[in-house]
Symmetry: C2
Subunit: 389 residues, 2 copies
């Protein structure tokens, strides 16, 4: 077990109706003017945004609004919102949406207090030490950004999709999680969210740090709960209890508790970010293609942890580690197939893959947190992409 530092101060309110507490929490936080950030209109159509702003009004918290954040969020709207936030002297930001909205809200929160361009944080030219506090009303269980100190933004000018991680500065001060808000998600979005949260756990699970039994067991328990609950939601999208288990799992998958005491991997996220940046692929759907390929490749190189994962979570019985790791990859792919997720680059609509470009892009973005279960060479990288066809 490695030495570690861990702090996760977000206050969670979880359950039916908790979005109506947003005004009270903003007032208790002492915010005098709030920016409400949202996406491409589903929160408007569902009436959620009206409930959020009504709650703020009832608590006497003035607000401005900034909508239109798209999936795989880009830099331009962030820059625009930073200007607005500064002009309005915003001292609190409320993200109403999923990972894209929350990650953009975090970028705005850090950028508004920084003299240079916010993208400096993402390319490693500056470090986030301070940010306007962010609160969250979550609508999509997937990215886990509601409990993490992370943010992923795509620079549409350079084609880079880069993730940053802070210890505490970008962790939301509160997150309101009402599983009812997730009942109407399209099946494909629910499934992609499940793949995303499973990936967040497995990225941390694939470690060369020995003797992290407690973190391993927590991770295995979460994965098991997610798979059980996902099958229930596929069978019955209105199953509140299963939705609730998925929603809370998505937060725990990425608030850092599954990483304590170990070196993490994150190679698969890096491989996927290249695809999202080039093709606008849904992150979770991309991960469903990437992860089994990556584990398959590891079977011939460093099979120990994928083998353990398979034996403890997927019912793999092979005693040979290579065989067990291959069985793990197959079982993971079979589960993604149950969720009707894409399984190949072709399924993602990438019919003419440029493996050399994928490989070059992967190795370009040094700001990304590839820390490595396995240190990837360009040869490795291209080979893994070729396993995705």
């Amino acid at each position: 077990m490695d030495n570690f530092s861990y702090v996760a101060p977000t206050r969670y309110l979880f359950g039916r109706g908790v979005e109506n507490e947003v005004g009270r929490l903003a007032a208790e936080a002492g915010w005098s003017r709030v920016m409400v950030v949202y996406g491409q209109g589903s929160a408007v159509r569902s009436g959620l945004l009206s409930r959020v702003t009504a709650s703020l009004s009832q608590s006497g918290v003035p607000f401005i609004q900034f909508g239109g954040i798209a999936p795989n969020p880009t830099a331009a709207p962030v820059r625009e919102a930073i200007v607005m936030a500064r002009r309005a002297c915003v001292d609190g930001i409320i993200a109403v949406g999923g990972g894209s909205v929350i990650d953009s809200a975090k970028a705005i929160a850090a950028g508004a207090l920084y003299d240079g361009d916010f993208w400096d944080f993402y390319i490693g030219a500056a470090t986030v030490t301070d940010a306007i506090p962010v609160g969250v009303v979550l609508t999509i269980p997937a990215a886990g950004s509601e409990g993490s100190g992370n943010s992923v933004i795509t620079n549409e000018e350079t084609g880079q999709k880069i993730s940053i991680r802070t210890d505490k500065a970008l962790r939301p001060v509160f997150a309101l999680l009402n599983p009812e808000l997730t009942m109407t998600l399209p099946q494909a979005q629910t499934a992609a969210g499940v793949a995303d949260m499973m990936a967040h756990i497995i990225e941390r699970y694939l470690t060369t740090t020995p003797d992290v039994e407690v973190t391993d067991r927590l991770s295995e328990g979460l994965l098991t709960a997610i798979m059980t609950s996902a099958r229930r939601v596929i069978a019955n999208p209105n199953d509140y209890e299963a939705r609730a288990n998925i929603m809370w799992s998505g937060t725990l998958a990425h608030n850092g508790i599954c990483g304590c005491g170990r070196r993490e991997d994150w190679t698969s996220h890096g491989l996927e970010h290249v695809l999202s940046a080039l093709y606008g692929v849904t992150h979770g759907a991309g991960l469903a293609v990437v992860f089994p390929a990556w584990i398959t490749y590891m079977a011939d190189r460093l099979p120990a942890k994928p083998a353990q994962l398979g034996r403890r979570v997927f019912g793999v019985t092979a005693t040979d580690d290579r065989e067990a790791a291959l069985a793990t990859a197959a079982a993971l792919r079979a589960f993604f197939a149950e969720l009707n997720l894409p399984l190949t680059l072709g399924d993602l609509g990438i019919t003419d893959p440029d493996f050399a470009k994928f490989t070059a892009d992967f190795h370009r973005d040094k700001g990304n947190p590839y820390r490595g279960y396995w240190t990837m060479t360009p040869t490795d990288t291209e080979a893994v992409y070729r396993l995705m066809v």
Copy 2:
């Protein structure tokens, strides 16, 4: 899954040497005068206290000291320290020790800012809303107080041992966890700590709330990790990795993550507190006697959750829930026997038990958080105590 609120803002530093960060953290917290609270001298003899005070001095943080906190900590030292803390205008408290020291530090922290007697908080006559911030250097993995908002104090005048729970006010702002500090713990203390942290998980696991799969699976994973690691430590007390896994498990067992979304039980803690208050029994050792008896009693009444626990953690194969619950109780007792923990009241030195008094005391302390997997009548209570002979 029930609606819930959860916030656990403690910053953890974990690993070798982290106690030497205490001065830096106290300075960063802006504390101008600190009270260092410790126990009956082991921290003095080991040199730990000197390292802590040296670290404070190096960081320029003035401090006063208050030692002598005993196991099953009582009210008198707390009152004495409150007077000292007020006189010295202390604005930070550092607990160097295990649960008894930390719980006392929390009582001091809340009491120093309260006009009445601190015991009011414990009997429910007042509520903790504010407290001097507390930091922890942990020496005994057991009580989990380093990450919880709880405190248990015994009133030696009334014979009451009562636990209070706060949402956030009594959660330490930081906790420094160095597993090396636990290497020299006597085997009996290590074992009692293991029983205590397992009890913290199982108290939360025994719930009538349906569909808490994610919290169930986390809890099962933690229990499995604790048992694996405990067996390693029994075999080799100098096994740093196993000590580390136990230490972090003890924190996670009681920081509330195993309770999210469900009604908790806590009956066994209540049953044990009666024994500790009357006989000064080590809490974890008492729990090793209480818990199997309580589960045995439940087998005839509400066996579903103990049965699930047995099947998922203890390898129980019985399909009938009553049989499975009985097998769970037996397996838990067998594990405690492996750790050389007491298994009966006689093993605890209670050779002439007054069951009527135990029962009356249990039902007297309404301040205790018995929320109930099973609503105990005095008949139930006495019957469970009689199963401990």
